[in-house]
C-alpha cells in the first residue's frame, strides 16, 4: 500500500515539472497553431544558462529563474517576429511550422554542441540529494521544490489568462482566431506575447530540470518526444489537458518503471500516444476537428 503511495508521489512530483514544460508547448499550438519542435532545445539551452550561472557566479538554479524567464521571453518575441510572419496566412501554416521549428531545433542544437560539447552536465545544488521523510514516505527535496515552483508558475499563468484583459484576448484567440480579430484583438501582438510566454515557460523549465535530469545538447529530442505525447493525450492546445496529461503519464511512467525497471518508462509515453491516437485522437480535453 505504502509502496503504491510512494510511487504515486514520485510520479506526481515529476508530473508537475512535465506540466510546466508541456504548457508552453500547448499554449503555442493553441494560440497560433504552431507545432514547436524546438521547445525541447530551448529548454536545454536554458539548462545551460542555469548551469553556467551555477558553476560561474554560484547562483542557485532557482535564482537562475530570474534570468531564464525574462531572457527566453525576449528571445521568444524576437524569434516570433523575425521568423513566423513570413509563413503567416499560409493554408498549411501548421505543417510549415513543423519544418521551421525542426530547422530551428537543429541550428540551436548545433550551436550548443559546438560550444558545450556532448558531455552530460547538471547543476548540483546541495539539496539534490536531500529527502524529506513523512512516515515511511520518501520525498526528494529537489523534486518537491521543482514541482512546487512549477505549480506557482502555472497558477501565475492561469491568473494571467483568466484575470487580465490580455489574458482574455489570448484565450479568445485560442478559441477562434477570426472571432478575436473581429472583436478588435490585435492577434499579431497576442501571438507574439503567447509565443514569448511559451518560451519563458521553456526557460523556467530549463532552470528546474537542470538539477533533476542531467542534460547534453542532444537530449532535447527525448524531451520533445515526451512533451508531444503529453499534449496529444491532453488534447492539442488545451492547457488543462497538458497539465492533466502530464500528471497522468508521469504517474503511469513511475509505476511502469517501478514494476519493469527505469528503461521501460519512456515506453509509457509512446504507448499512451499510440492508444490515444487510436481511441480518442482529439485527446482528453481536445475539441473534435470542426468543419
Amino acid at each position: 500500500m505504502s509502496e503504491v503511495a510512494q510511487v504515486m508521489i514520485l510520479g506526481l512530483l515529476q508530473g508537475g515539472v512535465y506540466a510546466l514544460m508541456a504548457s508552453g508547448l500547448t499554449l503555442m499550438f493553441g494560440v497560433m497553431r504552431i507545432v514547436n519542435l524546438a521547445h525541447g532545445v530551448f529548454i536545454i539551452a536554458a539548462c545551460y544558462v542555469a548551469y553556467f550561472l551555477f558553476v560561474g557566479p554560484g547562483w542557485d538554479p532557482f535564482a537562475s529563474l530570474l534570468v531564464t524567464i525574462p531572457l527566453f521571453f525576449l528571445l521568444g518575441m524576437v524569434i516570433y517576429r523575425s521568423l513566423f510572419p513570413r509563413i503567416e496566412g499560409s493554408q498549411r501554416f501548421s505543417e510549415m511550422t513543423v519544418l521551421l521549428t525542426f530547422g530551428i531545433a537543429l541550428v540551436v542544437e548545433g550551436f550548443l554542441s559546438y560550444f558545450f560539447t556532448g558531455t552530460f552536465r547538471s547543476t548540483n545544488p546541495p539539496y539534490t540529494t536531500d529527502a524529506i521523510l513523512i512516515g515511511d514516505l520518501f520525498i526528494p527535496t529537489a523534486q518537491l521544490y521543482a514541482s512546487m515552483t512549477s505549480l506557482i508558475l502555472l497558477l501565475a499563468l492561469w491568473g494571467f489568462l483568466f484575470l487580465t484583459r490580455t489574458g482574455y484576448a489570448v484565450r479568445a484567440t485560442m478559441q477562434n482566431r477570426t472571432a478575436a480579430q473581429i472583436v478588435g484583438v490585435n492577434v499579431r501582438r497576442i501571438s507574439t506575447i503567447a509565443f514569448a510566454i511559451g518560451m519563458a515557460l521553456a526557460g523556467a523549465s530549463g532552470s528546474l530540470i537542470s538539477f533533476l535530469y542531467p542534460f547534453f545538447p542532444n537530449s532535447h529530442w527525448r524531451w520533445i518526444a515526451i512533451l508531444l505525447a503529453l499534449i496529444v493525450l491532453g488534447g492539442l492546445g488545451s492547457l488543462k489537458g497538458a497539465v492533466v496529461g502530464a500528471l497522468m503519464l508521469a504517474v503511469a511512467a513511475a509505476f511502469v518503471s517501478d514494476m519493469f525497471g527505469a528503461t521501460w518508462a519512456p515506453i509509457t509515453f509512446f504507448g499512451a500516444l499510440f492508444l490515444v491516437l487510436l481511441i480518442r485522437p482529439q485527446g482528453l480535453f481536445g475539441r473534435e476537428a470542426r468543419v
Binding site: E88, G89, S90, Q91, R165, Y168, A169, R171, A172, Q175, N176, T178, A179, A180, Q181, I182, V183, G184, V185, N186, R188, R287
Partner: protein, 250 residues
C-alpha cells in the same frame, strides 16, 4: 455622403489567385445594401477585405475619404466598421455573457461595457436568459443573435453581415430580419450578403450583383425585384431558389 468606398479593389487569399477583380462600389451613410451573387462569386471576400482580414492587392478602400485598405482588423473596427462573418465566429467555450464582454474588448471602461451588455439583453431577451450558457451549445438562431449582439457592443457606424439567415428555419430567419430592420432604424449603415435573394433585397435599398469576382450590376433593390428582364438575365436560378424557399414557408 459616401461612408465607404472601394476603388478598383483587387483582392485574394494568401499565395492564391486574385478573387476580386477591380471591384468599385460606394456605400452611403445610413443606407442598407445587399451583395448578391452565386456561390463563390466573392461576396464574403468583399467583406473580409473591408474588415481588414484580407489586404487589397490593388486599389483603395476608403472610409470617409481616408484609406483603410490593409489596416489591421482591430483598427478598422475602431474606425466604426464591424463584421459578422458567415460562420458567426463566436467563442464556443465562452458563455453568452463572456462573448458580449469580448465584444466590448476595445472599450476600456468596464462600466460602459456592462451598460451596453444590459442594452443588448433588452434588445435580445433570449440572450439574457442564456447569459451563462456556453455559446457553442446554443441553437443556430440564438448564435446568430449573439453574433449580432456582440457586434453591436462596438457601437458600429456600419455593420457588414454575411449570410445572417444561413442554415436557419424560416421563422427564425424572420426574427433575424426583424433585428436587421431595427439596426437600420438605429441609423447603422448596413452591407448585407444574403443567399436568400428575395429576403436580402427586401431588407435593403440598393444591391450589388457580384459574379466571378466582378461587379455586374448595381441597382436599387426593388428595381431588381420588379424588373423581369433583370430577374431573368442575372438572377433567374437564384430568385427561383429564393421563391421556392418563400413558398415553402407559406
Amino acid at each position: 455622403m459616401a461612408l465607404l468606398e472601394l476603388q478598383e479593389v483587387t483582392s485574394g487569399y494568401a499565395f492564391g489567385p486574385d478573387i476580386l477583380q477591380s471591384v468599385s462600389l460606394t456605400v452611403d451613410e445610413g443606407r442598407a445594401y445587399c451583395i448578391i451573387g452565386p456561390n463563390g462569386a466573392g461576396k464574403s471576400t468583399v467583406l473580409k477585405t473591408v474588415a481588414g482580414l484580407l489586404r487589397p492587392r490593388e486599389g483603395q478602400v476608403l472610409l470617409d475619404g481616408t484609406s483603410i485598405g490593409g489596416l489591421r482588423p482591430d483598427l478598422v473596427l475602431a474606425a466604426g466598421i464591424c463584421y459578422v462573418p458567415q460562420d458567426r465566429s463566436l467563442f464556443p467555450d465562452m458563455t453568452v455573457k463572456e462573448n458580449l464582454v469580448m465584444g466590448g474588448f476595445l472599450q476600456p471602461d468596464r462600466k460602459v461595457v456592462s451598460e451596453r451588455i444590459e442594452q443588448i439583453f433588452d434588445m435580445f431577451p433570449i440572450l439574457r436568459s442564456r447569459a451563462g450558457q456556453h455559446a457553442g451549445t446554443m441553437s443556430g438562431g440564438e448564435q446568430q443573435m449573439l453574433a449580432l449582439g456582440r457586434a453591436l457592443m462596438t457601437q458600429p457606424r456600419m455593420m457588414m453581415i454575411d449570410e445572417p439567415s444561413l442554415g436557419l428555419a424560416p421563422q427564425v430567419a424572420d426574427q433575424i430580419f426583424e433585428t436587421i430592420a431595427s439596426l437600420r432604424q438605429m441609423g447603422i449603415t448596413l452591407l448585407l450578403v444574403e443567399q436568400n435573394v428575395l429576403r436580402g433585397l427586401e431588407a435593403t435599398q440598393d444591391a450589388f450583383l457580384l459574379d466571378l469576382g466582378t461587379l455586374r450590376l448595381e441597382a436599387p433593390s426593388d428595381r431588381i425585384l420588379d424588373d423581369p428582364r433583370i430577374r431573368e438575365l442575372y438572377l433567374g436560378r437564384q430568385l427561383q431558389r429564393g421563391t421556392e424557399a418563400e413558398t415553402r414557408e407559406n
